[in-house]
């Protein structure tokens, strides 16, 4: 396969296994590029990309912007907080106005699940989902898969546990789709109030005990507790959550094998993961960030190369 089967990156669900492998292989080439003395290639010099962030973001936005600049694209940034969205403009109107200024590709983060899919049907530009509500965050899943692959070789048959707030996490859903398509076995672990009711229908097992989950897995992906999305109390206290589901050095060292620890960021040090674990040799958190740029370059390069 030499091209993607999709015109937009709306979610991992829409991608085939071949698409994912093509993106990960291309990302390997870009990882080499971003480690060169001159980190820039001219591939997208004729394209303009708009980053539309209707929701806050530091890492993803910076990573996308760097990826665009490394590909020589022109970049315009938009954040909802200081725009006409506040004056009541609709999403389609906002985007159409931006497109009227001849923008070719849109990277969008929105608090409503499905917003990028809606937009892809309404406007004539390539859309990349940078996170939509609690739905999907495809580039995060791709960079997680890339980082695991880089550490462990093949992903097929590997055991991965996602720990924490699965209910509010778009990273969890995209990771489940992505890792399963690549042949990994995925479990989720967390307080049952934070595990979606129908998660088992995705072929994912629920393991409520953190120690058992860690003993089973090759990789633990620790998620942040998304207090900003929790409108009711899902567990009694953060302290209790940390005692039951926080990963500390004592647990990590007592395991029978060395597992890999991941975190999509931002980290709440001392809540889901302690500082000494986050900074330990088993953690690949910063590699994930580096790989994020390479993976996003690959996604934009492949989408831009697609005809039509």
């Amino acid at each position: 396969m030499s091209h993607l089967s999709v015109n937009h990156l709306l979610g991992i669900k829409q991608l085939t296994k071949n698409d994912i492998e093509l993106i990960l292989n291309t990302a390997q080439n870009f990882k080499e590029v971003i480690n060169r003395p001159i980190k820039k290639v001219p591939s997208l010099r004729d394209l303009t990309v708009a980053n539309l962030f209707f929701e806050n973001s530091t890492r993803t936005r910076l990573s996308f912007e760097l990826a665009q600049k490394r590909l020589s694209a022109d970049v315009v940034n938009f954040s909802a907080s200081n725009s006409s969205v506040k004056k009541g403009e609709t999403l389609v109107d906002t985007v159409n106005n931006i497109l009227a200024m001849k923008v070719d590709m849109i990277v969008m983060r929105h608090s409503s699940a499905g917003a990028p899919i809606f937009l892809s049907k309404k406007v004539n530009a390539k859309i990349i989902n940078a996170g939509d509500g609690a739905h999907e965050h495809p580039t995060q899943a791709l960079l997680d898969a890339f980082s695991i692959q880089e550490k462990l070789g093949d992903i097929k048959g590997r055991k991965i546990v996602i720990v924490g707030d699965i209910l509010h996490s778009r990273v969890a859903l995209s990771n489940i789709f992505c890792l399963q398509k690549l042949g990994a076995i995925v479990k989720v672990c967390g307080p049952l109030t934070l595990i979606p009711k129908y998660i088992t229908s995705l072929g994912v097992e629920v393991e409520p005990d953190l120690r058992k989950a860690l003993e089973w897995c090759d990789v633990a992906n620790m998620l942040r507790i998304q207090l900003e999305r929790q409108d009711i109390k899902f567990f009694p206290s953060l302290r209790e959550y940390t005692m039951l589901y926080g990963l500390n050095k004592d647990i990590l060292d007592s395991l029978s094998k060395k597992i890999i620890v991941m975190h999509p960021g931002p980290i709440n040090r001392g809540v889901e993961i302690t500082s000494d674990v986050a900074d330990s040799g088993q953690s690949i958190i910063l590699e994930q960030v580096e790989n994020g740029v390479a993976v996003r370059m690959a996604v934009m390069f492949l989408l831009a190369g697609r005809q039509g």
Binding site: S2, H3, T26, N29, E32, V33, R36, P37, I38, K40, V41, P42, S43, F301, A304, G305, Q307
Partner: protein, 177 residues
């Protein structure tokens, strides 16, 4: 028209050896010169040249890298392009660089290669070596300094270069599409 064999067996070997001796005439013991093969097919010629040079120069180390030009091409979006590996594990700053490709046709790959190479530093001098020069087909003003064979061909023809390492034999054939 039947495919025409342009070069094989002994004449192929002689051509490679001649190219190596031409290089040694200019670059002596290769202490300040490196070879860079262009992906995807130029790397086989580059490796062969490296091997042969090391034989002639009595196992003196000759640096040989691989360079992919995909991200620098001007036909991106006109056709599907898949990047290959780039591997240059030596410094090219102030070195003499010999760029190597199998077939020189329109010259566009070499143009992209020159751009791609500059991301690794500023060489002192750059030369081009090709196994087959399809003259009279150039789109950009690029000429090779070291040429295996020069042929006249039309754009509807293809030149196929086969290598012992990957195809089982050394052979250059002119094909009609």
């Amino acid at each position: 028209m039947q495919p025409r064999i342009l070069l094989e067996k002994t004449r192929f070997d002689v051509t490679i050896k001649r190219l190596c001796h031409q290089l040694i005439e200019v670059h002596n013991d290769f202490s300040n010169t490196v070879i860079i093969g262009l992906q995807p097919r130029g790397i086989y010629l580059a490796r062969r040249i490296q091997q042969e040079l090391q034989n002639i120069l009595k196992n003196k180390k000759v640096h040989c890298g691989e360079l992919d030009t995909t991200f620098y091409r001007d036909d991106f979006r006109k056709k599907e392009l898949i990047p290959n590996r780039t591997n240059i594990d030596f410094i090219i700053e102030d070195k003499n660089v010999v760029l190597v490709d199998d077939v020189l046709f329109t010259g566009r790959t070499i143009r992209a290669g020159l751009d791609a190479m500059l991301a690794f530093g500023r060489p002192k001098d750059v030369e081009l070596m090709v196994l087959v020069d399809r003259r009279l087909s150039r789109h950009v003003p690029i000429q090779a300094k070291y040429v295996g064979i020069t042929i006249d061909s039309i754009s509807s023809q293809n030149v196929k270069v086969e290598w012992k390492e990957t195809d089982g034999k050394d052979k250059i054939t002119l094909l009609n599409k």
